[in-house]
Symmetry: C3
C-alpha cells in the first residue's frame, strides 16, 4: 500500500474508534454492532473475570447488559495506529471512563464493596481488519492504570 | 475533491477546533472570533435557555460574558469529521469541560442551586464552511451526557 | 516539502507524542528516552523551580525521579502542529494529568502543604526535529491552567 493509503486508513480507524465511543455513551447499540468484525473478540477481564466475549453481537449484548441503565462517558486519546497491510492494522489508545449508576443501582465488586460511581484510566490494545469494505475492530483488550470508585 | 484534499481538510478542521478550545481556555477573544464564520450560529441551550446566538462577534461576546473571570478547561476528543465538498463539512466531537468560578462568584441554576464549580461531558455537533480561504465553524450545538456541579 | 509530506509528518508527530504519554504512564523509561532528541530541553518550571533539564537521558532521569513510584495518567488533546520544513515543526497540545502517590509518600509544595494526589490541566508548547530519520521532541515547555491537589 502507498503512504497515502496508510494515512487514509489511519484516519478511517480513528473515526471507527470515535463511533465506538459515541455509540457506547449514547446507547446506540445498532451502531455499536457495526464497529466490530463479525468474529471480533473483546477482552474486558481487567474489569470482570467473565469479560472475554466473542462475536460482534455477543460483545454488544455484554456491553449493553453492563451499562444500559448507566450514564457513561468514555474518551479515547493519543492513538498509535500501525497499518500492517491493506486490511490489517494494530493500535493502542489511552482511555478514560466515567460510570454513574442510577439511584439504587450499582455493582458489588469482588472484594464486596458496593459502588455507584467509577472513574477509570487505561489503554485499549486493538487489532483492526477490513470487513465488507470497511475497517472494523477485530480484537480489543483493555488494561488499567487506575480505577477510582465511590 | 480528491481523497487527499479530504484528508487535508480533516486535519485543518481538527486544528480549527483545537484553536477554539485553546482560545477559550486562554481567553484569547480575538483568536476566538476568527474560528467562526461571520454568520455562524451557536446553540448552547443545553446550558442556558438564552444560549442560541448568531454571528461570530456575538457568540464570542456571549462566551466572554459567561467565562471571562472563570478558570476553564475544555477538551475535545474523538472527532468524526465528514467532508461533504470543497467548502462544506460536518463533525461530531466528544467533549469534557471544567469551570472553576473565582471565590465569591458562581452562578445560580434554574432550580435555585448555587454553584461555583462545574464538570461536564457531552458532544459538539458542528458544521464547517470555508470563508476567506479557511475552514471555520458555521454552526455548533452542544449536547450533554452528564453535568456534575459543586 | 509537499502537502502530502506535511500531513505525513503531522501524523508521525502525533504518534511520537502518544509514545511520550504511554511510556510515561507505563514507566517505559527506555522508550521514553527515544522520544527526545539527544540535546532536547524540557521546561517543567511551572511544576518546580528546578524543572529545566537538558539532554534526553537527563530529562528522563528527572521524570523518573519524580514519578517512578507514582501512579500517573497523562493525556494529550487537540494538537496544533505546524510543520516548518522537512525536519522542523512546532506544536501545542492541551493536557491533563493525574498523579496518585503511594500510601505514605507524596510531596511538600513550596507553600508547605503536603499532597498525595494532583489533578492538573495545561498546555505543552513544543518543537520537533528529525534526528536519525525520525521526528523527536526538541524542546518542551509546560504551562498550567489549573492544578487541584488533595
Amino acid at each position: 500500500m502507498t503512504e497515502f493509503e496508510r494515512l487514509s486508513a489511519i484516519e478511517e480507524i480513528k473515526q471507527l474508534k470515535a463511533r465506538y465511543f459515541r455509540c457506547m455513551d449514547t446507547k446506540d447499540w445498532a451502531g455499536m454492532v457495526d464497529v466490530y468484525a463479525p468474529d471480533a473478540e473483546a477482552d474486558f477481564r481487567a474489569e470482570s473475570p467473565d469479560g472475554f466475549v466473542k462475536g460482534a453481537a455477543q460483545i454488544v449484548a455484554y456491553t449493553r447488559g453492563s451499562i444500559a441503565t448507566v450514564t457513561t462517558v468514555h474518551h479515547g486519546h493519543m492513538p498509535e495506529i500501525t497499518v500492517l497491510s491493506a486490511d490489517e492494522a494494530v493500535g493502542v489508545w489511552a482511555m478514560e471512563d466515567l460510570l454513574y449508576w442510577p439511584e439504587g443501582e450499582g455493582i458489588t465488586r469482588a472484594d464486596g464493596t458496593r459502588i455507584s460511581r467509577l472513574h477509570g484510566f487505561g489503554h485499549y490494545h486493538e487489532t483492526y481488519r477490513v470487513h465488507g469494505g470497511r475497517w472494523r475492530i477485530q480484537t480489543l483488550r483493555l488494561t488499567r492504570l487506575r480505577v477510582e470508585v465511590g
